[in-house]
C-alpha cells in the first residue's frame, strides 16, 4: 500500500499542495486529474519521493519513507515521466538495461538480461534493439522509456507491492499508442501492483481508472469511483466548463456543451 498522510508542500509562502491524505491499494489503477496548476505534478513528486513534503508523511508498503536512504525503494518503485532526454548516444538496449541498475552491482545477472529481453519483446522493440535512442521519434522514445520502467519493477518485491508511477505518460503518443499503452498498463496491473498516473484526458481516465483523485488549487476536490468523481457538476466546478456525460453501450464519455 502507498499512503500519503496530511501532506503539504510549499514553495516560499505559496502552498502548492495542502492537507492531502489518501491510501492507494494494490490491484488498483489510480488516476490524478485536475486543471493546470492544481498540484498534480507536485503530488506526483511527493509520491515518487523526488520532493520531501513540508508537512505530513509518505508511506510505501506500510513503512514511513526514510529520505536519507532512498536507494532501496527503486527496487520496487518506478517512475515514467512525460519526456526523457538523454545527453549522449545510447543503444535502445542499453537504455532498457538501465531499468535493472538498482538490481545489480557491476554486471547484469542472467535474470536481468532475461527481463530486458522479455520487456523489449512486450513493447515490440526487437527491431530497435541496436538503434541509437537519439534517432528515434518522440513516440518510439516513450515506448523505450516505458520498457525501461517496466524492467525496473518487473517482479514484485518479496513483501508488499510494486509501485508504478506515470506522470502524463501518453502526451507524446499518437492515438493508437495511447490505447496500446493503457492496455499494457492494465496487463501490468495485478494484486501485487499499485499504479498511479497523472492523466489529462478525462475520457481515458473515466474508462481506465479504478479510482480518480480530482485536484483543484492544491486541494483534493473529490475522490473515488470515476463516474462519481468526474460528474458534470464536479468538472463544472473545477474546470469552469460545462460538460455532459454520455452513455454509449457500456462506455461513458464526457463532452463539453458548446
Amino acid at each position: 500500500m502507498v499512503e500519503i498522510k496530511n501532506a503539504g508542500y510549499a514553495v516560499g509562502k505559496k502552498w502548492l499542495l495542502e492537507n492531502i491524505s489518501y491510501q492507494f491499494f494494490p490491484g488498483k489503477c489510480y488516476m490524478i486529474c485536475g486543471p493546470n496548476g492544481a498540484g498534480k505534478s507536485t503530488l506526483m513528486k511527493l509520491l515518487s519521493l523526488l520532493s520531501i513534503p513540508d508537512v505530513g508523511e509518505v508511506f510505501y508498503n506500510n513503512t514511513k519513507i526514510n529520505y536519507t536512504n532512498k536507494e532501496g525503494y527503486s527496487k520496487y518503485r518506478a517512475v515514467l515521466s512525460q519526456q526523457v532526454d538523454i545527453s549522449f548516444p545510447m543503444e535502445v538496449e542499453e537504455v532498457v538495461m538501465m531499468g535493472r541498475y538498482p538490481h545489480f552491482k557491476i554486471k547484469p545477472s542472467k535474470e536481468d538480461i532475461e527481463i530486458c529481453d522479455e520487456v523489449i519483446e512486450l513493447q515490440n522493440l526487437q527491431s530497435f534493439r541496436k538503434r541509437n535512442f537519439l534517432t528515434l521519434s518522440g513516440g518510439e522514445r516513450q515506448r523505450v522509456q516505458f520498457a525501461r520502467v517496466l524492467s525496473q519493477i518487473w517482479k514484485a518485491p518479496e513483501q508488499g507491492s510494486r509501485i508504478l508511477l506515470l506522470d502524463e505518460p501518453i502526451s507524446s503518443l499518437d492515438i493508437k499508442y495511447q490505447f496500446d499503452f493503457l492496455k499494457h498498463v492494465q496487463q501490468f496491473l495485478n494484486e501485487r501492483t499499485i499504479i498511479i498516473a497523472v492523466l489529462h484526458d478525462l475520457n481515458l481516465a473515466l474508462n481506465y481508472a479504478d479510482e480518480i483523485l480530482l485536484l483543484n488549487k492544491g486541494k483534493l476536490f473529490s475522490s473515488g469511483k470515476p463516474g462519481d468523481v468526474l460528474s458534470p457538476e464536479n468538472i463544472n466546478a473545477v474546470f469552469q466548463l460545462e460538460f455532459k456525460l454520455h452513455q454509449f453501450n457500456d462506455m461513458q464519455f464526457l463532452w463539453s456543451v458548446v
Partner: protein, 350 residues
C-alpha cells in the same frame, strides 16, 4: 551502431604497446632495444648505467613517456567524468578551470617554497605541490559549476563564459607567480600555459601513477551511476542514484588526478575533449566501456603528440600544449557547430 566495440580493446592495447616502444626508442637520441633491456637489468641489479644510451633511457626517456601516458589517460578520463556530470560533450578540465586553478595552486608553492627553510622544503616540497594544485583546481571547478548552474540546467553559454573568467583568473595568477619568482628553478609562464614533459622525474611518475590508479578504480565503480545520469537527474534519482552526492564525488575525483598531473606538466588542453568524442562515436556512451577505453586512447594520443613535440624541431622541443591545441581547437569548434550548442538547442548526437 557501435559494432566495433568487440575489437576495440585488443586493437588499442596492441597499438598502445607499439606506440610506447616507439616513444622510448625515438627522440633527440635514438635508443637501441638491447640498451633498454640492459638498462632495466642494471636498475634491477642496483648497478649504474653502463653507457649513455642506458642513462638517457632510464633517467630521461622512460620517466617522460610514463608521465606522458598517464597524463593522457588522466585528462581523457577526466573529460569523460566531467562531461557525464555536466551532461555536455564540450566540457573538459582545461575549459572549466580545473587545470588553470591547479596550475595557480602549484605555482604558489614554487614561489613561496624558497622562503621556507631548506628542511621544510625538502620534506614537504614534493607533497605540497600536488596538494596546493588540488586545492586550486577544486576551487576553480566548483566556482565554474556553481556560477554557471541556474536552477536545474547548466547552459552551455554560461558554462563557457564562466569558464573563460575563471581560467583567466587562474592563468593570470600563475603568470604573476612566475613573474615575481626569484628562484631560478621556478617554472616559466610558458611551462604552465603550454605544458611540457621535458622535466619528468621518477618521483613525479610515482605520485601521478598512484593517484591515477586509485581514481580510475573508484570512478569505474561509479560508471553505472554516471550512466543513469545520462537520463537526467530526476530519472537517475528514480533509479536510486543521489545526483548531488555523485556529482560532488566525481568533481573531487576528477580534480584530484588532473591537479597532480597539471602540477608536474602544466596545462594541456583539449585532450579531454577529443578523446571522449572519438570514443563515443566508436563504442558508445556506456561509461563502463568509455572509462577504460579513454584511459588507453588518451595515453595513445598524448604519447603520439609528445613524440611530435620532441621530433618536429629536434633537438629543440615544441611545447606539447601547442600541438594538442592545434589538433583540439578544430574538434571543439566542430562539436559546438554539430550540436547546435551555440543556438541553445541542447545537444544531440543523432
Amino acid at each position: 551502431m557501435f559494432r566495433q566495440s568487440k575489437f576495440f580493446f585488443p586493437f588499442t592495447i596492441v597499438l598502445l604497446i607499439v606506440i610506447l616502444l616507439c616513444a622510448v626508442a625515438f627522440g633527440a637520441v635514438s635508443i637501441p632495444i638491447h640498451d633498454m633491456f640492459s638498462g632495466l637489468l642494471h636498475v634491477l641489479q642496483n648497478k649504474k648505467s653502463a653507457n649513455i644510451y642506458e642513462g638517457v633511457f632510464i633517467e630521461i626517456r622512460l620517466p617522460r613517456v610514463l608521465l606522458c601516458t598517464i597524463t593522457g589517460a588522466i585528462l581523457s578520463v577526466s573529460g569523460v567524468l566531467l562531461q557525464g556530470l555536466f551532461r555536455n560533450p564540450i566540457v573538459e578540465p582545461g575549459l572549466i578551470g580545473t587545470s588553470a586553478g591547479a596550475a595557480f595552486g602549484a605555482s604558489i608553492v614554487f614561489v613561496f617554497a624558497i622562503r621556507m627553510s631548506a628542511e621544510i622544503r625538502d620534506l614537504a616540497g614534493p607533497l605540497l605541490v600536488p596538494v596546493f594544485a588540488f586545492g586550486g583546481g577544486l576551487l576553480a571547478t566548483f566556482l565554474v559549476y556553481s556560477i554557471s548552474k541556474s536552477q536545474k540546467r547548466i547552459s552551455v553559454t554560461s558554462l563557457l563564459l564562466v569558464g573563460i573568467a575563471i581560467n583567466a583568473i587562474g592563468l593570470s595568477g600563475t603568470g604573476f607567480m612566475s613573474y615575481i619568482a626569484r628562484d631560478p628553478q621556478a617554472r616559466s609562464i610558458t611551462f604552465w600555459n603550454l605544458g611540457t614533459f621535458s622535466g619528468a622525474t621518477w618521483p613525479q611518475v610515482g605520485i601521478t601513477w598512484a593517484v591515477a590508479i586509485i581514481v580510475f578504480i573508484i570512478s569505474f565503480r561509479y560508471s553505472k551511476q554516471l550512466n543513469a545520469l545520462i537520463l537526467g537527474e530526476e530519472e537517475a534519482t528514480h533509479l536510486g542514484v543521489e545526483p548531488e552526492k555523485l556529482k560532488r564525488r566525481i568533481m573531487i575525483l576528477s580534480t584530484a588526478m588532473v591537479a597532480v598531473a597539471t602540477a608536474f606538466v602544466g596545462v594541456i588542453s583539449f585532450i579531454g575533449l577529443i578523446v571522449p568524442h572519438i570514443l563515443r562515436l566508436l563504442i558508445g556512451s556506456d561509461n563502463k566501456k568509455l572509462i577504460p577505453a579513454s584511459m588507453i586512447m588518451g595515453a595513445i594520443i598524448l604519447t603520439v603528440a609528445d613524440m611530435g613535440a620532441r621530433l618536429l624541431i629536434a633537438p629543440a622541443e615544441v611545447p606539447i600544449g601547442i600541438i594538442t591545441s592545434i589538433a583540439g581547437a578544430p574538434v571543439f569548434i566542430f562539436l559546438l557547430k554539430k550540436f547546435n550548442l551555440l543556438q541553445e538547442k541542447g545537444s544531440s548526437y543523432g
